[in-house]
């Protein structure tokens, strides 16, 4: 490494720490401080508000479904991208990154155009079959899936590249069929990448706002997720409840990251 003089070293450290402090740590800390400004009162108040508890339950349900779906598809698509050659592969790989670059609000509008019950492409026929997508849970799960789509894939693909297919070929030559090879060899090798992708997806799904706001219709007590409640409460001058709900969202996300940091082995070998 290049040697840097001591004052420069300290200046660089100060700059980095200061940057993260003013951008992330301080604002988040203030939310926590506001939450506990009168002890546990704000939290208790928020947790006894049926609008908040309902929203939390809905958020959890939507997030869990989205994570399960994204994990299954994510691992499948990763295997497809790494282990197989097919025309259009690069296009598929590029499309997977779209959710990272497109604003969630646009995602919500796009889904609305396709699935809404009156003028959408599929909407009317699906609704005739008895399913409501837009302004209901399926639409919210779809929107959440969309925005969190790349997270599992982008964690798993590099690991699949790195481990190569030697072990899988060895398993095949020892008599394992495709599912046996996947469960016994591939999955244990990519386990930590999948866990990490799941945690990132969960955190992203819990915090989704823009896309869900549009497809859910933001109906109080029915299709309002935790993030939407935060906005609604804040605009209704119930700041303390908004802070308390925000705190719960932050808490779950950080808890996820901490759990993984502890679970993950120090070096993957």
């Amino acid at each position: 490494m290049v040697d840097v003089s001591a004052p420069t070293k300290w200046l660089l450290r100060l700059l980095a720490v200061g940057y993260v402090f003013f951008l992330v740590a301080w604002p988040v800390a203030l939310v926590v401080k506001e939450t506990f400004s009168d002890g546990l009162g704000n939290l208790v108040e928020a947790l006894t508000d049926s609008q908040v508890t309902g929203a939390l339950q809905l958020t959890l349900m939507v997030a869990l479904w989205a994570v399960v779906i994204n994990t299954l598809f994510g691992v499948g698509i990763s295997l497809l991208l790494v282990r197989y050659e097919f025309p259009g592969k690069r296009m598929l790989s590029a499309m997977i990154d779209i959710p990272l670059s497109v604003s969630p609000v646009v995602v919500g509008l796009a889904l609305l155009l396709v699935y809404n019950g009156r003028t959408g492409w599929f909407g009317p026929s699906i609704e005739e079959a008895g399913y409501q997508v837009i302004f209901d849970t399926p639409g919210m799960i779809m929107a959440t899936c969309f925005v969190a789509l790349p997270l599992v894939i982008r964690e798993v693909v590099p690991v699949l590249h790195e481990i190569g297919d030697d072990q899988e070929q060895a398993a095949r030559s020892l008599g394992a069929n495709a599912p046996q090879t996947f469960w016994r060899i591939t999955l244990p090798s990519i386990k930590w990448a999948v866990v990490y992708g799941v945690v990132l997806s969960l955190a992203r799904s819990l915090g989704e706002f823009g896309a869900v706001k549009i497809v859910s219709g933001n109906i109080t007590g029915r299709t309002q997720t935790a993030t939407l409640v935060v906005e609604a409460k804040y605009q209704n001058f119930q700041q303390s409840t908004a802070y308390a709900t925000s705190f719960l969202l932050i808490f779950v996300s950080i808890a996820c990251l901490v759990v993984v940091a502890f679970l993950r082995p120090k070096h993957d070998s």
Binding site: I163, A171, R172, S173, L174, G175, S189
Partner: protein, 339 residues
């Protein structure tokens, strides 16, 4: 015949831009590998020998041709149904399993009773001298130990053929030498039909019962090490199995040339010693003949001294009686040392 391969052709589509055409890895290859023997597929890198082995194992598919293993047509069988053991150059160990679990893998897939698996794993680990490492992870083993574990893993399922793809290629020279001797002894003990790929002629000559020389996707010659060494089919086989030089239109080994300081025999070629290099007990000479050939000659130090050869002296070269020679395929003007 244990493995019969006939008419195998395999081309890989060219991937690099600007490269012309597809790469032909195997060009109408037919060969029979006998039961119970240790056969080496020998040839230069990129010659197609690994591709042939992978097609026998079912890890690659041929464009045309058939593979028959123990009388069964295996051309369309998936690898897990061929009952072959495969050992990879880079071991392909299951990193997340202990040594014992690695060896047990094939048996667990076959749902054998637990007691039987434990017994067989024990036996195999003893065979490859890894008993004390049974509960270690592969990352705690050396390269040679990992490869022995991979071998035990392949043997566990009692394969009808054992295929090894450059099994010692990633190991250092000393371990490689030990392991190849050990493989020979192991084969005499277990006697499973074994095919291994190598680009090291010394390895093939030392270990194999039979050698198949493969170059540019074609079989150049099949035979025992002695047959190949003493009676090479062409100058490629001859030059690949050892050092060669060219003397008056023939390919000959440098140690099979007699040097004298006077024209004793008819047909002796006159030349001047242009360079003399001593390496241990042997002396390497470069002789520039009057025809313009640069011939290299190897002799013992003692012999060189007794004849009285030094740089600049005029000598006469003849091919020793009983030496292996093949006609040179190259024009005299292009003569250069090969090997």
């Amino acid at each position: 015949m244990s493995i019969d391969v006939s008419g195998l052709t395999k081309t890989f589509p060219s991937t690099g831009s600007g490269r012309r055409g597809d790469f032909v890895a195997l060009d109408d290859v037919s060969v029979s590998l006998p039961t119970g023997q240790l056969t080496a597929l020998l040839g230069p890198s990129g010659g197609g020998k690994s591709t042939l082995l992978r097609i026998i194992a079912g890890l690659d598919t041929a464009d045309t041709g058939t593979v028959t293993i123990e009388g069964t047509d295996a051309t369309r069988l998936p690898p897990q149904k061929r009952n072959v053991g495969f050992v990879f150059q880079h071991y392909a160990v299951f990193k997340h399993m202990t040594v014992a679990k690695n060896v047990a893998f094939g048996l667990e897939i076959r749902k054998r009773p637990k007691a039987e698996i434990a017994e067989r794993v024990d036996e195999l680990l003893k065979l490859v001298h890894l008993s004390q490492f049974a509960h270690r992870l592969p990352s705690q083993l050396s390269g040679g130990q990992r490869q022995r574990m991979a071998l035990a893993r392949a043997l566990a399922v009692e394969p009808s053929v054992l295929l090894l793809d450059e099994p010692f290629g990633a190991l250092d020279a000393k371990v490689r030498k030990e392991l190849r001797e050990w493989l020979r002894r192991l084969h005499d003990e277990v006697a499973v039909t074994t095919v291994f790929v190598t680009h090291d002629q010394e390895e093939a000559l030392e270990v194999a019962d039979e050698i198949v020389v493969i170059n540019e996707g074609r079989v150049e010659q099949v035979g025992t090490p002695d047959q190949l060494y003493d009676d090479p089919a062409n100058d490629f086989v001859m030059s690949f199995l050892g050092e060669v030089t060219h003397l008056s239109g023939t390919v000959v080994r440098p140690h099979d040339i007699d040097v004298s300081t006077s024209p004793q025999f008819a047909g002796a070629v006159e030349g001047t010693v242009s360079r003399m290099l001593r390496v241990g007990f042997e002396v390497r000479l470069h002789v520039l003949t009057v025809d313009g050939e640069d011939v290299s000659v190897v002799m013992t130090r003692t012999h060189a001294r007794s004849v009285g050869i030094r740089e600049g002296s005029t000598v006469w070269l003849t091919v020793a009686a009983g030496a292996t020679v093949v006609p040179s395929m190259r024009a005299a003007s292009q003569v250069e040392m090969a090997g």
